[in-house]
C-alpha cells in the first residue's frame, strides 16, 4: 500500500509539470485550431536555454526562467508570425507539418551546439528530500510542482480575470463572433502562441531538473502531451490539467503494481475507454460537421 501511495504522490507532482506543458499546447489549439507538434521540442529548447544560463552565469535553474520565459514568449510570437499566420487554407493539416519541421529544426540546432549526449539541470537541492507517510519525497519535485501550480494559477487569472483573457476565451469559443465584437484575433493568436511557448520554457526547466534529456527527447514528450490534450478535450485548460494528473498517476501506480513495461499501456486503455464514451474528451466540446 505504501508503495502505491508513494507512486500516486509522485504521479501528482510530475502530473503538474505535464499539465503545464500541455496547457500551452491546448491553449494554442483552442485559439488557432492548430496542433503544435513542436511543443515538445520547445520544452526541450527551454530546458537547454536554462542549462546554458545556469552553466554560464551559475544561476539556479528555476531562476533562469526570469530570462527564458520572456525569450521564449518572444520566440513564440516570432514563430507564429513567420510560420503560422501565413497559413490561410487547410490550417489544421499544414500546421502539423510546419510545426513538425520547427521541431526538427530545433532538434538539429540543439544537436549542433550541445551534441546529442544526455544532460541534466543541476541544483544544490536535487537530492534533498523529506519524509512523509514513511517515504521520501525529493524537494526538487515539490519545487517543480509548486512552480507549475503558480504558473497555471497565473494563466487562470489571465484568462478569467482580465479583458485580454476574455478576448482570448472569446476567440477560442467563436473566432468570427470575437472579430465582430472588435477582438483583434490576429494579435490574440500571436500572444496566445507566445504564452504557449513561454509555458514550454517553464515546463522545460522542471522537466530538465527531474529528467536527463537530449535534443531528441521531444519525441516521447510530444506523444505524451498530445495524449493528454486528447483525453482532456482539445482546447480545454481544465481538461489538460485533469488528464495530465490521470496520465501520470495511473502510469506511476501501474509501474509499481504491474510492471513499468505496462505502465503506458494502462493509460492508453483509459484513453480509449474515455474516447469511446466521450469522443470529445473529458472537457472538450463536441463539434457537429455540417453536411
Amino acid at each position: 500500500m505504501r508503495i502505491v501511495l508513494e507512486a500516486a504522490v509522485l504521479g501528482v507532482l510530475t502530473g503538474g509539470v505535464y499539465a503545464l506543458m500541455a496547457s500551452g499546447l491546448t491553449l494554442i489549439f483552442g485559439v488557432m485550431r492548430i496542433i503544435n507538434v513542436g511543443q515538445g521540442a520547445l520544452v526541450i529548447l527551454g530546458a537547454y536555454l536554462s542549462f546554458a544560463l545556469s552553466r554560464s552565469i551559475h544561476l539556479d535553474p528555476f531562476l533562469t526562467l526570469i530570462v527564458t520565459m520572456p525569450v521564449m514568449f518572444l520566440l513564440g510570437i516570432g514563430l507564429q508570425f513567420v510560420f503560422i499566420r501565413p497559413l490561410k487554407t487547410d490550417r489544421e493539416a499544414l500546421s502539423v507539418l510546419i510545426t513538425y519541421a520547427i521541431a526538427l529544426g530545433i532538434e538539429g540546432v540543439l544537436g549542433f551546439f550541445f551534441t546529442t549526449n544526455y544532460i541534466e539541470l543541476r541544483a544544490w537541492y536535487e537530492t534533498a528530500s523529506f519524509a512523509i507517510f514513511g517515504f521520501h519525497v525529493t524537494w526538487v519535485y515539490v519545487f517543480g510542482f509548486l512552480l507549475c501550480l503558480a504558473i497555471l494559477g497565473a494563466l487562470f487569472v489571465l484568462l478569467y480575470r482580465t479583458s485580454f483573457g476574455a478576448a482570448l476565451r472569446a476567440t477560442m469559443l467563436n473566432r468570427t463572433a470575437a472579430q465582430l465584437v472588435g477582438v483583434d484575433v490576429d494579435r490574440v493568436s500571436a500572444l496566445a502562441f507566445g504564452i504557449g511557448v513561454a509555458t514550454a520554457a517553464a515546463g522545460g526547466v522542471v522537466f530538465g531538473v527531474t529528467n536527463a534529456f537530449n535534443p531528441g527527447s521531444h519525441y516521447d514528450l510530444i506523444s505524451r502531451l498530445l495524449s493528454i490534450i486528447v483525453l482532456g478535450g482539445l482546447g480545454s485548460l481544465r481538461g489538460a490539467i485533469i488528464a495530465a494528473l490521470i496520465m501520470l498517476v495511473t502510469t506511476d501506480i501501474a509501474a509499481v503494481v504491474i510492471s513499468p513495461v505496462w505502465a503506458s499501456f494502462v493509460f492508453f486503455i483509459i484513453l480509449v475507454l474515455v474516447l469511446i464514451v466521450r469522443p470529445q474528451g473529458l472537457y472538450g466540446v463536441r463539434v457537429r460537421e455540417r453536411i
Partner: protein, 239 residues
C-alpha cells in the same frame, strides 16, 4: 438623399470565384432595409464585406460618406456598424453577462459601459434574469435576444442582422421581429438579410431582391412584397 451606407459597383467573393458582381446598394438612414433572395445569391457576402470580414475585390463602400473598404472589423465596429451573424454567435461557456459585456470590448469608459448595461437590461429583461447562466443554457430565441443586447452595447448607428429568424419556432420568430422593430423605433438603422422573405419584407421600409450577386429588384418593402414576379419566384413556396 445619400444613404447611411452605400455600396457602389462592389465585386467580392471567395477563392477564385466572385459572388457579388458590381453590386449597387443603398441603406437609408433610420429605415429597415431587407435583402431577400435564393441561397447563393450573395446575401451573407454583402454583410461580410460591410463588416470587414471579407475585403471586396472592386468597388466602394461608404458609411456616412467615408470609405470603409480595407478597414478591420474592429475599426468598422468603432465607426458604428455592428453585425449579428447568422449562426448562434454567443460564446457558449461564458455567462450571459460576460457575453453582453463583450459587446463593449472596444470601449474603455467603464461608466459608459455600466450605463449601456443598464439600458440593455431595461430593453432585454432576459439579460438580467439569466445573467449568471452560461449562454449555451438559453433557448434559441433567448440566445438571439442576448445577441441583440450584445450588439447594442456600443450604441451602433447601423445594426446588421443575418437571418435572425433562422431555426426559430413561429412564436419566437415573431418576438425576434418585434425586437427588431423596437430597435428601429429607438432610432437605429437596420440592414436585415432574411430567408423568410414574407416576414422580412413585411417589416422593411426598403426591400432588395438579390439574384446571382446582383440586385434584381428594389423598392418599398410592401411594394417588393406585392410584386407578382417576386411573389411567384420567392414567396409562393414559403407562403
Amino acid at each position: 438623399m445619400a444613404g447611411l451606407l452605400e455600396l457602389e459597383r462592389v465585386t467580392a467573393g471567395y477563392g477564385g470565384g466572385d459572388i457579388l458582381h458590381e453590386l449597387d446598394l443603398s441603406v437609408e438612414d433610420g429605415g429597415i432595409t431587407c435583402i431577400v433572395g435564393p441561397n447563393g445569391a450573395g446575401k451573407s457576402t454583402i454583410l461580410r464585406v460591410v463588416s470587414g470580414l471579407l475585403r471586396p475585390r472592386l468597388g466602394a463602400i461608404r458609411f456616412r460618406g467615408a470609405s470603409i473598404v480595407g478597414l478591420t472589423p474592429r475599426a468598422i465596429l468603432q465607426r458604428g456598424i455592428v453585425q449579428v451573424p447568422q449562426e448562434r454567435s454567443l460564446f457558449p461557456t461564458m455567462t450571459v453577462w460576460e457575453n453582453v459585456r463583450m459587446g463593449a470590448y472596444t470601449e474603455r469608459d467603464q461608466r459608459l459601459i455600466d450605463r449601456r448595461l443598464e439600458e440593455v437590461c431595461e430593453a432585454f429583461t432576459v439579460v438580467r434574469e439569466r445573467r449568471d447562466e452560461p449562454a449555451a443554457s438559453l433557448s434559441g430565441g433567448q440566445q438571439k435576444i442576448v445577441e441583440f443586447a450584445r450588439a447594442l452595447m456600443l450604441d451602433p448607428a447601423l445594426v446588421i442582422l443575418d437571418e435572425p429568424s433562422m431555426g426559430l419556432d413561429p412564436k419566437t420568430r415573431s418576438t425576434v421581429f418585434e425586437t427588431i422593430r423596437a430597435m428601429n423605433r429607438a432610432g437605429r438603422t437596420i440592414l436585415l438579410v432574411e430567408q423568410n422573405a414574407r416576414s422580412g419584407l413585411g417589416l422593411a421600409s426598403h426591400g432588395v431582391v438579390l439574384e446571382s450577386g446582383r440586385v434584381r429588384l428594389e423598392g418599398d418593402g410592401p411594394a417588393v412584397l406585392n410584386n407578382p414576379e417576386i411573389s411567384r419566384l420567392y414567396l409562393g413556396a414559403t407562403a
